[in-house]
Symmetry: C2
Subunit: 294 residues, 2 copies
């Protein structure tokens, strides 16, 4: 499939970074974007993230592949709306026929978006993905080249998409230098709660704790070694992105929070009675993460 | 004060990194070390961290400044032993007179070591410091150049040290490009519990949680974005270092763990009832950390 135009809806960290790499690596002739926030739209133009910022309907008409890169709460109805356009589309202007277009999302939760679109007549034209990359920053200013390099990208419920759509999107992620991994949507949400979502909650809680206990900001600045900075950095992540993730993935997130509180409590109890042997064994068990994460 | 010889006891991450920078920046003519672990001692020699690895007594005799860079549990009695040598020292061989030598520690808790040495007749020759720098790795292989650059270094209870000893040690830390900050030892332990020690406990608990919930290590590897890796990286820190810190700073650490568990519980409660407004306000409060930590 030769791709003429990619349309990216939402020119923030993820959408903007995709635009940069797809453009410079020649994946498509043209990268266009849709951006609701006028300041972000102007910034995306100034930074040069896309060739043009277009109105929504025009973007759908012109794009071969539409990337929905907005927070998951808004993405669920939007993907459905785009599939409705695919179903109803008549005159497609300069673009390829509506039946050949593909839409993807890049959201951090996959079960609800797959459930909501499951019985749509154009479901085959939707590929639900989750590129496992990002930073704690947001907006077009946060977009960066090479952000996806070497990371994994989940393709959720690939069997519900047309095989040729999946192939095209795997090629798109190959251009972003990502490793595609197929996974059931519900399984994805369980595993990302366990590995990714919990670390955001622990960072938010850490920031709240330090801001609460340490009234003197200068002490925080002075005493923050590199360790604290790295542990707390996810606490800069935006509420717009994380409120819908944590609510959509509620049951899995609650389960892992409960386990987490138990582990904290185990540390608390061992420290309270100065049980050095127990503290040591907790730390040594935690050290096993070394084998998995460099 | 012209420094001829610095003796570093413990050639791990901190001691080894100090040796590298003090040597290449010409702080002393000679950097010698003491290392109990024969493998570490051999590695320090191979890597070239120090000019010579010496027996303990010989190091004390030859060094103008002795740096105690071992875990805080062992450091407390060792500093006392070194001060006893300063008090009792007779023939000093090639070194400067015992009464002119200085010993410093670099431990992460300051109250106990200052209490234990408080009434020692040679207390003035001891400067208790905490360079706020490090990584999650340990041993001579973890030593790196420039690790201390731009960070803060606490000088605890400076008024209990001889002014000229403090001046000499401030010059040593200036050579390491650190900002010296004087602080009461007890205050130091409170503030480091609030800012630094808690982030190690939260990382250990995060690693334990993920290892517990996620039985499939491949999922951890695949789904770990940069965010998870950075949040969990302190969980690689060694038990040898952290057991004595957490027990010596027990009361302060327990206080901050309790506040932390309350914050986690607040997230849990808000997610459980899908109170999006409350989750948003928790996240936005946590975002304030942005103003302090880059």
């Amino acid at each position: 499939m030769t791709v003429k135009t990619v349309g990216i809806i939402g020119l923030g960290l993820i959408g903007g970074s995709m635009a940069l790499d797809l453009k410079r690596r020649g994946y498509a002739e043209r990268i266009v974007g849709v951006e609701q926030d006028p300041v972000h739209a102007a910034a995306a133009g100034t930074i040069g993230l896309v060739d043009a910022v277009l109105p929504y309907e025009q973007c759908l008409a012109e794009a071969d592949i539409v990337v929905v890169a907005i927070p998951v709460g808004a993405a669920v109805p939007l993907v459905t709306d785009i599939l409705n356009h695919f179903r109803d589309g008549a005159a497609s202007g300069d673009g390829i026929p509506w039946r050949d277009k593909i839409v993807i999302d890049v959201c951090s939760t996959k079960e609800m978006i797959c459930l909501e679109t499951r019985y749509h007549p154009c479901r085959g034209q939707f590929v639900s993905t989750h590129p496992m990359a990002g930073t704690e920053y947001s907006g077009p200013w946060a977009a960066m080249e090479g952000m996806f390099d070497g990371r994994a990208c989940i393709i959720a419920n690939a069997e519900e998409s047309d095989p040729k759509a999946v192939t095209a999107i795997e090629a798109l992620y190959d251009c972003l230098h990502m490793r595609p991994i197929r996974m059931d949507a519900a399984q994805h949400d369980i595993h990302t709660a366990y590995v990714s979502h919990i670390s955001h909650v622990t960072s938010f809680a850490l920031a709240l704790t330090v801001l609460d206990k340490e009234k003197d900001e200068k002490h925080i600045f002075d005493l923050a070694s590199g360790g604290f900075s790295s542990t707390v950095r996810l606490a800069k992540s935006s509420a717009d992105m994380w409120v819908p993730i944590l609510t959509q993935n509620r049951d899995n997130v609650l389960q892992v929070i409960d386990t987490y509180i138990e582990k904290m409590q185990a540390f608390r109890d061992a420290i309270a009675v100065v049980d050095a042997g127990k503290i040591r064994s907790l730390i040594e068990d935690a050290n096993h993460i070394k084998k998995i994460i460099r």
